[in-house]
Every structure is written in structure tokens, then in C-alpha cells.
């Protein structure tokens, strides 16, 4: 399906391609221009090709540069770090963030520390990619949205794109970055078809974007929740409520400026995330606003996040577990009652 038309101002001659194609194009272009870039991960050269993002790249660039790995997630992360220190630019794919938990030692204790701990003597230009699962009864160990855990870690850049355009542009920025970067994707984004220029381009890391401008209420969202927030905002517009939608795109380093200036404008805030509520993304953003933007607030912040339980498998339970458009709409109406 087409993603929401955020880019109405953009050139309508730009082609539309699918989300996975956008990522694949970024990888293809990075492999093409820099011989140090390589792609690794279990299944990157199989027919599923990491949801199509790496499809047939091994045929074009050879199995030296695009290759299947042993599962060994922790060692392979360390190996990618070592390769990065040795001058390569690894991109390490995991099809689920749940498997990132097996890499925590190398990702948190090593990759995120190496530049700081050695006083800037060594760089680790590493990209790690994982895609949050949702639906099909994926359940507690195949659908965790662990961005809160990783946002906690200094020294690790954390990206969560929501559009085809950003998926490509942020991937190219991540590969060009000289620091460890974690890209947390969301399976639902892969339903989208969106405008993507063919030539390589970079979306700046650390910059959010306004997806819809509004004056009554601010909805700050990440990843797939941007889509839900946008649908909610369009529905609210029919009721005469003008909502602004902020897509953070990068969680670390966080674009405080875009958050605070939107809050200053509207004074009413909803924060929506795909992950858990406690000590998660919504908690951090709400804390930031209360620290630095309290004077703008006309009502308490409302957080939209998953309840603090593991993901259930059954579809009726899943429906109860995942918040979405209607929760955001309800929250908006509630906020506007509080004049």
C-alpha cells in the first residue's frame, strides 16, 4: 500500500518503490561505491533475503562481500567490530531485535565504548540492522521492540525510519558514519510503497521531521507509530482538530529542538512508540519535555505504548496489546477536553 503522502510538496515524478526495495537500493549503492562495505548475517543470501532487502546482492558483489554467517550473534558482532577497526564497513543484519540480546556484550560493552574508552584512538564504523516483528502470532520472542534498551546506551546511534525515503537515506548515512549505528526497523513499514529518488542521498542522523504541521496538539512518534499517528491526525482534522506529527527518525542523538519547538507551539503532547511503556522511548521523551519544556505544557503528556507484558501470540490478545490510531485519537480528544 502507498504510505501516507507526506511529501505532497515533492516532485511527483519521483518513482514509488517498496520499502524493502528502498533499503536494497541503499545497500547496492553503498557496495558499489565503497569496496570496504560488506553485508553479513544469517540468511542475507537466501531467497527470503532479509525481507527482500539484500535480495541477490551476493550475486552482484560475490559471497566475499555479501555472506551468510554462523548464528553466533555475539562473536559475529565482535568480528564485525574487529573488521571495522581494521578499516572495513560492516553491515550486520538480524531479522529480529530479539536476537540482539545475544549480542549485548559486544554491542554495549565493546562497540559503543571503543572510541570513548581509548580516548578517540580507534573508530568502529559498524551498522547493525534488525526488524521488529509484529502479528502472525510472532509472540514474546519474535516481536520485541527493544529500542528503549538500546537508547539507554551512550556511544550507540539509534535510528528508526518510518518511510521508504528515510529507510534508504538513513541506511546510506549509517554506512557512511564512523560510529556504531543500530537501525531498528519495523515489519509493518514493509507494507509501504513510497517516493524514493534513484540517486544516492543521505538523510541526516539526529534530525527529526514534521510529517504534518498543526497547531492544536503535538504527536511525537517513531517508526511505524508515525503511520498510525498520521492517520489519527487526518481523522482528527475532520473534527476540526489540527494535530502536528513529529517523526523522530533518530532516537540517539535525539533531535530535542524539533520536539521542544513543536511543544512550544501546541502545548499538548502525545508520545507514541512501538515498544513498552516503562523506562522506554515515551518515558524518555516525556521526561525531556518536562525538564526543558514544562512551561509550554497546557495539559499532562499522554504516552501511547505497549503494556508492560510480553507480546502475546493469539490475535485477539495481539489486538489488545498493540496501540494504534484509535488510541491516539482518543488521547487527543482527552487532551483537548482539558482546557
Amino acid at each position: 500500500m502507498n504510505e501516507p503522502d507526506y511529501h505532497l510538496e515533492s516532485d511527483q515524478n519521483v518513482r514509488r518503490i517498496a520499502y524493502h526495495e528502498a533499503i536494497r537500493e541503499a545497500l547496492d549503492q553503498a557496495l558499489e561505491v565503497d569496496p570496504h562495505v560488506f553485508i553479513m548475517g544469517q540468511g542475507v543470501d537466501d531467497p527470503g533475503a532479509m525481507f527482500g532487502t539484500t535480495l541477490n546482492l551476493h550475486k552482484k558483489y560475490g559471497n566475499q562481500r555479501v555472506f551468510d554467517t554462523p548464528l553466533s550473534e555475539n562473536a559475529l558482532t565482535g568480528i564485525a567490530i574487529g573488521a571495522a577497526i581494521g578499516g572495513m564497513r560492516p553491515v550486520y543484519f538480524h531479522n529480529r531485535p530479539d536476537f540482539l540480546l545475544l549480542t549485548m556484550d559486544q554491542l554495549v560493552n565493546h562497540a559503543s565504548k571503543w572510541h570513548y574508552m581509548f580516548g578517540g584512538a580507534v573508530n568502529v564504523p559498524l551498522v547493525v540492522w534488525a526488524c521488529i516483528g509484529r502479528g502472525w502470532g510472532a509472540a514474546a520472542q519474535h516481536s520485541q521492540a527493544l529500542q528503549g534498551l538500546f537508547m539507554h546506551v551512550p556511544g550507540l546511534k539509534l535510528l528508526m525510519p518510518s518511510t521508504c525515503y528515510d529507510a534508504k537515506g538513513l541506511m546510506l548515512s549509517a554506512i557512511a558514519d564512523n560510529n556504531p549505528v543500530l537501525i531498528m526497523e519495523h515489519r509493518n513499514n514493509f507494507r509501504h510503497i513510497g517516493f524514493v529518488p534513484e540517486a544516492p542521498y543521505r538523510v541526516p542522523i539526529g534530525k527529526g521531521i514534521i510529517r504534518r504541521s498543526g497547531k492544536d496538539i503535538t504527536i511525537i512518534a517513531v517508526s511505524y507509530m508515525v503511520t498510525e499517528a498520521f492517520s489519527a491526525a487526518e481523522a482528527l482534522a475532520e473534527d476540526g482538530i489540527d494535530a502536528e506529527v513529529v517523526d523522530l527518525r533518530t532516537l540517539r542523538p535525539l533531535d530535542e529542538e524539533i520536539i521542544l519547538s513543536s511543544v512550544a507551539k501546541t502545548g499538548r503532547v502525545i508520545v507514541a512508540d512501538t515498544g513498552w511503556k516503562t523506562a522506554g522511548i515515551t518515558a524518555e521523551i516525556a521526561a525531556l519535555i518536562s525538564e526543558k519544556g514544562f512551561r509550554f505544557l497546557k495539559a499532562p503528556i499522554i504516552r501511547i505504548a505497549c503494556p508492560d507484558v510480553p507480546t502475546p501470540a493469539g490475535y485477539t490478545l495481539e489486538e489488545a496489546f498493540y496501540p494504534g490510531k484509535s488510541d491516539i485519537e482518543e488521547a487527543a480528544l482527552k487532551l483537548l477536553e482539558q482546557k
Binding site: 570496504h36 560488506f38 566475499q64 554467517t69 554462523p70 553466533s72 555475539n74 562473536a75 559475529l76 558482532t77 565482535g78 568480528i79 564485525a80 567490530i81 574487529g82 573488521a83 571495522a84 577497526i85 581494521g86 578499516g87 572495513m88 556484550d105 559486544q106 560493552n109 565493546h110 571503543w114 572510541h115 570513548y116 574508552m117 581509548f118 580516548g119 578517540g120 584512538a121 580507534v122 573508530n123 551512550p154 556511544g155 546511534k157 564512523n178 560510529n179 542523538p253
Partner: protein, 326 residues
């Protein structure tokens, strides 16, 4: 070992390098109680032959990765002494700008890419350096130093599997000093480490007396040659003993977790004294050269400590420096 098989220059260098590492460590130890080096130290006194024997077979651009017990590896590979001591004093001139401390040494100019204090943490990173060598088609090797504590970790198996799979130019140096803090290797591992059972064409394994520098050097030479010829990884177990405590200065005899006789027996296997005896017996070192060596080393150590003590401390504003690079 027949000393005639080696050049006099090499024989003397091995002794000098071991003595230098020992003296540096003793000097650190002697000043540690002053609490001016505010960082935990992990001495490798009695284990110098491993670092020196291995690094003597390496070139400057070969990589090493190392652990919390890393002073010996760093110095044997040619790491800058002043920068090491300054790091122990947490100075701005330290090898890690005072951000790393004793367990996080680095000197990229000699292929030392940083040591990890997470036991086993440096193993996959050193393996990955071997992978970068292979991908870039470089003529160098990567040496991974780790101890028997790290041999308890699953990441060792994962890393060796990958090194074998990709035939990487990596040499795994299993520095078995028999202790992880106070627990003996027999409390943690049922028997000999499994990698001695790996088919030799996949990975050559060796067992050597880690207190005999020439034995270590000899097998390291084989392993390094195998790596340079792109024949794949090697595994070298160097049996030794941690005569000092896990951390800090001095003996930990009073803790009573190991028999005194065992400590004494291993002290008598001192890699430096025994090697010196051999050199003397063969007329390779005389008292005059020895005195000169001691003087050279003492002078260098004193200079390094003075440099460290006189160096500036990092500024408070440096606390956020180096988080990310450009």
C-alpha cells in the same frame, strides 16, 4: 632448546623485553600503595615469557587484542611506555587520554587496537581484525591473547569456529595461568580444552611451557608462518601460573585459597631467572651487559613515571569528549 639455533641478538632481546616488563610491573607495584594510580591493576608477573615469545615473532603492523591483564602484551608489542604509565595515572597524556585506565590500553601505531576488561571480549574483535586482513588482502596477522577465564566463555567457541570456517590469519594464545580471580581452572573446566582435538588441517594446536620463552617463540613462529601463508588459524596453549593476586599489588597468599608450596614451586619456575641462567651458562650474557640493561631499563622507567606524574589531568569538560567521532 639449543641456543645455537638462535641469533645472539634475538636471545638477548627476549631477555631484555621480559626483564623490562617485569621491572615496569614491579615499579608499578612498589608505588601502588600511594594511591596515585587510581585504577585497578592486573599484573602478569611470572607470565612475561608468553607476551614476549609471541610478540617477538610479529611485525609492527601485526595486530594484537588483549584483556584486563594487558601490560605485558602492550609492552611486548612495542606499546609506548610513557603513555602506559600516564594512563595508570589517568593523565591526559595516557594512551587512552585518561578515559580507559589500566585495563584499557591502546597503541594503534604498533597494532595494539585496545584491550577489553570483559573476559573473552577481545577474542571476537581480534578474530575480526583477522577477517579485515583477509578481506583487504593484507600481509599481516592477528594475535588474540586470552586467559583460562575467557576459555570458559562461549564466545571463544564461536570465534574459533568462524576463524576456521574462513581460514583466518589468527593466532589464539591461550594464556592458561590457572586462575580466574580465586577459582582454579579445575573448578571450571573438566579437562583439557577441546581445541587440542581440532583436526590439524583446520587449526593447528600446540601446548607449550608458558614459562619458557624460547618454547613459546618457537611455536609462535610456526603459527605465524601458517597464518602468513594463509593456511588458517592456530591455537597455542601456554601453561603458566598467576603468582600474584587477581588484582592489585603484592601477593595474595594470606587468602589461603591455594597451597603456599604451589606458589613457591611456580615462583621457582620464573621465566626470567631460569632463562637468564641458560644465557649465562652459554656465555651469552655477562654481568657487565646485565648491569647495563638494568640501568637502561631503570632510566626509562623513571622517565616514564616522571612524565606521567608531571602530565596534566583531563579537564572536567573532557568527560563528554570522544563519545562519537566525526
Amino acid at each position: 632448546m639449543d641456543l645455537n639455533d638462535y641469533s645472539q641478538k634475538l636471545l638477548i632481546k627476549l631477555y631484555f623485553d621480559m626483564l623490562r616488563i617485569r621491572k615496569v610491573q614491579l615499579h608499578i607495584e612498589s608505588l601502588y600503595h600511594l594511591d596515585e594510580m587510581k585504577t585497578p591493576i592486573h599484573l602478569s608477573i611470572g607470565q612475561e615469557a608468553i607476551a614476549v615469545g609471541v610478540c617477538a615473532s610479529l611485525y609492527q603492523n601485526d595486530y594484537i587484542s588483549s584483556s584486563h591483564r594487558s601490560h605485558g602484551h602492550y609492552l611486548a608489542k612495542g606499546g609506548d611506555l610513557k603513555a602506559l604509565i600516564a594512563e595508570l595515572y589517568c593523565r591526559e597524556t595516557g594512551c587512552s587520554r585518561g578515559h580507559g585506565g589500566s585495563m584499557h590500553l591502546v597503541d594503534t601505531s604498533v597494532g595494539h587496537i585496545g584491550s577489553s576488561s570483559i573476559v573473552g571480549g577481545g577474542i571476537p574483535i581480534g578474530t575480526g581484525l583477522g577477517f579485515s586482513i583477509q578481506m583487504k588482502g593484507e600481509d599481516r596477522v592477528s594475535v588474540v591473547f586470552f586467559g583460562d577465564g575467557a576459555a570458559d566463555e562461549g564466545v571463544l567457541y564461536e570465534s574459533i569456529n568462524f576463524a576456521i570456517l574462513k581460514k583466518l590469519p589468527v593466532i589464539f594464545i591461550y594464556e592458561n595461568n590457572q586462575f580466574s580471580v580465586c577459582s582454579h581452572v579445575s573448578a571450571r573446566q573438566a579437562g583439557e580444552i577441546i581445541f587440542h582435538k581440532t583436526p590439524a588441517d583446520l587449526m593447528t594446536s600446540y601446548k607449550v611451557n608458558g614459562n619458557a620463552v624460547l618454547e613459546v617463540y618457537e611455536v609462535a613462529q610456526h603459527a605465524v608462518q601458517r597464518a602468513r601463508k594463509k593456511q588458517g588459524p592456530s591455537f597455542i596453549e601456554c601453561k603458566t601460573y598467576r603468582v600474584r593476586g587477581h588484582a592489585g599489588a603484592g601477593s595474595d597468599e594470606k587468602l589461603g585459597y591455594r597451597p603456599l608450596e604451589e606458589i613457591r614451586a611456580w615462583e621457582s619456575k620464573c621465566p626470567i631467572n631460569n632463562y637468564l641462567q641458560e644465557l649465562r651458562d652459554n656465555g651469552i650474557l655477562n654481568e657487565e651487559i646485565l648491569k647495563e640493561m638494568e640501568a637502561v631499563i631503570d632510566r626509562e622507567i623513571n622517565e616514564a613515571f616522571r612524565f606521567a606524574q608531571e602530565s596534566p589531568l583531563p579537564e572536567a569538560s573532557d568527560v563528554t569528549k570522544y563519545l562519537f567521532c566525526d
